[in-house]
Homo-oligomer: 127 residues x 2
DNA sequence: CAGCATCCCAGGGGATACTG
DNA sequence: CAGTATCCCCTGGGATGCTG
C-alpha cells in the first residue's frame, strides 16, 4: 500500500490547509443545523409527500409525538418547513417543505445510499 | 404553485411507499453510525491526511482531548480508522482511514457543500 | 386528529488535572 | 506527544397522559 499517497476525499481543494479550515467550518455548520436524531428523517418524510402530523409520525419508526412536535416547531421557526392550517372544525394542519428544506436533498440521498450499502455490516459484525 | 405536484427528493423510487420504508431505515442506520457531534469532522480530518492526535485535535475547532480520545477509540473498534504505533520512546501514534471510513466521502462532501452555500443564512437570520 | 405538559433519566459532552 | 481520569452539567429524548 502506498503510504505516500494521502487519503483524500476530494482532489486538489482539500490539500490546501487554508481551504481545509473552511471545509471544517462548513461541515460543522451543516452538522449544527441537522443536529439531533430526527431532523433528517423528518425532512425526508415531508419531502416525500407526507403532510399530516400522524402521517409523518407513522412514517418515521421510533419517533414520539413529543419529539416530532418539538422538531416541527423548531424547523418551522427556522424556515425549514411551512405549517398551514386549513380547516378548523376537525383541525387540519399540513406541513410542506420549503426550498431551503429541499436543499438537503443530496445529503439525504447520500445517506440513504450509504445506509443501503452498509446494512449488512451493521448486523454482521459485533459492535 | 402546484399543490398536485408532490415534493420529491428523487424521482420514481421515492414515490413507492414500499421503498420509502427502506429509505427511512437506511437513513436512520446512517444517522446511527454517524451519530454525535464529532464523528464526521474526525473522519474528514483523517481523510484529509491528518494522522497525529494533536494534528487532528487542532484541525477540529471546539473538540476536546476527551471527546477526540473517546471517539477515536470507538471508531477504531468499529473499523472506521486504524491506529498504528510506530516509535515508543516518544510514542508516535498514527491514525489512518480505512476503506469503510472513506465510504462516507460523498456524504461529507455534500455536507461541506451545503455548509458553504448556506453560511450567510446562519448568520443573517435570527434564530 | 394535532398536539402540549410533565416527569424523568442516560449519556453526550465540556473543563480541568494528571500520567507514561 | 498521546492520551486517561474525574467531576459535573445540560439537554436530547423516551413514556405517559391530557386538551381543543
Amino acid at each position: 500500500m502506498e503510504t505516500e499517497k494521502r487519503n483524500q476525499i476530494a482532489t486538489e481543494v482539500l490539500s490546501n490547509p487554508r481551504n481545509q479550515q473552511e471545509e471544517v467550518q462548513a461541515l460543522q455548520d451543516t452538522l449544527y443545523v441537522l443536529g439531533g436524531k430526527w431532523k433528517l428523517p423528518i425532512i425526508n418524510s415531508i419531502c416525500n409527500g407526507n403532510k399530516r402530523f400522524r402521517d409523518i409520525e407513522r412514517s418515521i419508526p421510533g419517533i414520539t409525538t413529543r419529539m416530532l412536535s418539538k422538531e416541527l416547531k423548531e424547523m418551522t421557526a427556522n424556515q425549514l418547513i411551512k405549517r398551514t392550517v386549513t380547516a378548523e372544525t376537525p383541525v387540519i394542519v399540513e406541513y410542506t417543505s420549503t426550498e431551503y428544506c429541499r436543499s438537503f436533498g443530496d445529503i439525504i440521498l447520500e445517506m440513504i445510499r450509504w445506509g443501503k450499502s452498509h446494512r449488512k455490516r451493521l448486523k454482521g459484525s459485533a459492535d
